[in-house]
Amino acid sequence: MEALLKVNDISMVFGGLRAVSNFSMEIKAGELIGLIGPNGAGKTTAFNMITGVYTPTEGEIMFNGTRTSGKKSYQVTQLGMARTFQNIRLFSELSVIDNVKIAYNMHVKYTLGEAIARVGRYFSEEDEITKKALELLKIFKLEDKAYETAKNLPYGEQRRLEIARALATEPKLLLLDEPAAGMNPQETKELMEMIRWIRDKFRLSILLIEHDMGLVMGVCERIYVLEYGFCIASGTPDEIKNNKRVIEAYLGEEVS
């Protein structure tokens, strides 16, 4: 089967710093992949290249049969890739439901003229968007707070809202940047189940950056490990757990 995302040998150079070197990965439809590594290993840089925030200095990225390296971030999203951020980036002054509605903008068919004159498809499509947004919020148990200002939500709910908002763009691939950051073990466990459930319910692939080893090992089917910008290992969680270089990267070398 053709891979959904194919990353070919990408590198990112910032001045004299090689943040990511010759990184390759492949994600098939429906897979749940983890990307781990110590702090400063280049995980977020790799993420930013895949989502179009940075253009890789070398190499190319193919998504769903289209070359996405060099495309702008919003174009990549329009092709079906959505992401969340390590530090939550919600539209904080807007209501919860508006946050989700904004994500549906790509699927709106009415024209500016119809919206201004309030004729034609405007009302039916707005109704449709509101309905879809509420459904999505319900799935994430946020429907009671639909009309609250996003910044007033507790931290965990803001995380959930960010994921809901990303899903509203109807992606084929969802990228989560440290979704468990700042969560307690109980919340992390719930998140783990939620991630797996999202994958099945929305039938998409997920790429996950995470520090929490428990989460990554528990939920991912394959894992890539970055260190100093190099991919030092890839494989199933069991393979990674026993990989000598990974252990060295995380715990340091043994003194002999």
Partner: protein
């Protein structure tokens, strides 16, 4: 969503009643020429503040060159009626289109900047427009373009104002409008939602500039003259003050700001030496007491008067 349509109709009826009352009072000469002039000025200022609010308040792009677009509208309109001898309607369209087109041209490069840089760039552009006009003899140079017929009257200015208010309100409550709000809130996140940020920024800027142009045509055809001195950066700041006073991002705020400040100016017309002092004290008090403006980014609506109401940022539908 038929409730929305009903609400729009009700608001329109309310506007018509307001119009009838004002027009009646003017015909009966209870409102004298001085206040009639100020009411027209209020309407023009409302158009300006509401259109600036679209750029500054909704899209979050801090522009302070609005007087420049006002000038373009005023002069283009005057050229169409005085120099070319076409009708007033055509002048209105020409002024709007010219200012909008210029806004588009200027918006493309400058909207790459953000924050203070954009503010300085737009401030400079507003001045460039004024200086250019100052040096074009065809439009009268420093002595201004005179002999413009008074074709603007209260009905014209009032209904155009209502049209623009509705236009911007409906824009805000549509998908493109939400994209603009998203850009204001978080540009990076907006980008990852598939929003072409440049496109929507330029769109808001163009629309805002176009409406400022409309205001310009109304302005020059009421005061008989288009003069470069009426379009200095002080004028831009006047408009900005109205928007900030009412609350950035609130349409009712922008309207209230325009009404309030125009009234204060009118009342203080007899004491010009006090005008700026009271003006500035008002602003200082406001900044100390309510830095987010009178309404913040909320809309004034009847719901606000109910207990626990006024929370609905998303469906806030009001004049």
């Amino acid at each position: 969503m038929n409730a929305l349509r009903k609400k729009d109709l009700l608001t329109l009826v309310a506007c018509a009643v307001l119009f009838a009352v004002m027009q009646g009072l003017m015909m009966a000469e209870i409102i004298g020429p001085f206040w009639e002039l100020n009411i027209v000025l209020i309407c023009i200022n409302i158009i300006l503040s509401v259109s600036l609010n679209l750029i500054n308040g909704y899209t979050g792009q801090f522009s302070i060159g609005h007087a420049g677009f006002l000038a373009v509208g005023a002069y283009t309109g005057a050229i169409v009626t005085v120099k070319l001898g076409f009708s007033y309607e055509l002048a209105l369209i020409a002024g709007t289109v010219a200012a909008g087109f210029l806004g588009f041209l200027i918006g493309l490069p400058t909207l790459r900047l953000n924050g203070d840089y954009l503010a300085i760039a737009t401030l400079g552009l507003g001045e460039i427009i004024r200086i250019c006009i100052l040096n074009i003899d065809y439009v009268g140079g420093a002595s201004g373009l005179m002999g413009i017929p008074r074709l603007t009257n209260f009905p014209w200015v009032f209904w155009i104002m209502i049209f623009i208010i509705f236009f911007i309100k409906n824009f805000k409550n549509s998908a493109p409008g939400r994209c603009c709000l998203a850009i204001r809130e978080n540009e990076i996140a907006a980008d990852t939602m598939g929003i072409d940020t440049t496109k929507y920024k330029v769109m808001a800027f163009t629309l805002g500039a176009a409406f400022a142009g409309t205001a310009g045509v109304l302005f020059s055809h009421y005061f008989y003259i288009a003069h470069p001195a009426s379009f200095t950066f002080m004028r831009s700041f006047d408009i900005l003050t109205m928007v900030v006073l009412g609350g950035l991002g609130s349409m009712t705020g922008a309207i209230t700001g325009a009404v309030l400040l125009t009234f204060i100016s009118a009342y203080l017309a007899e004491y010009p030496e006090w005008r700026m002092i009271i003006y500035s004290i008002t602003l200082i008090v406001l900044m100390l007491r309510r830095p987010q403006g009178l309404f913040g980014n909320k809309e004034l609506s009847l719901k606000m008067f109910h207990l626990g109401g006024g929370k609905d940022g998303s469906t806030a539908e009001s004049k």
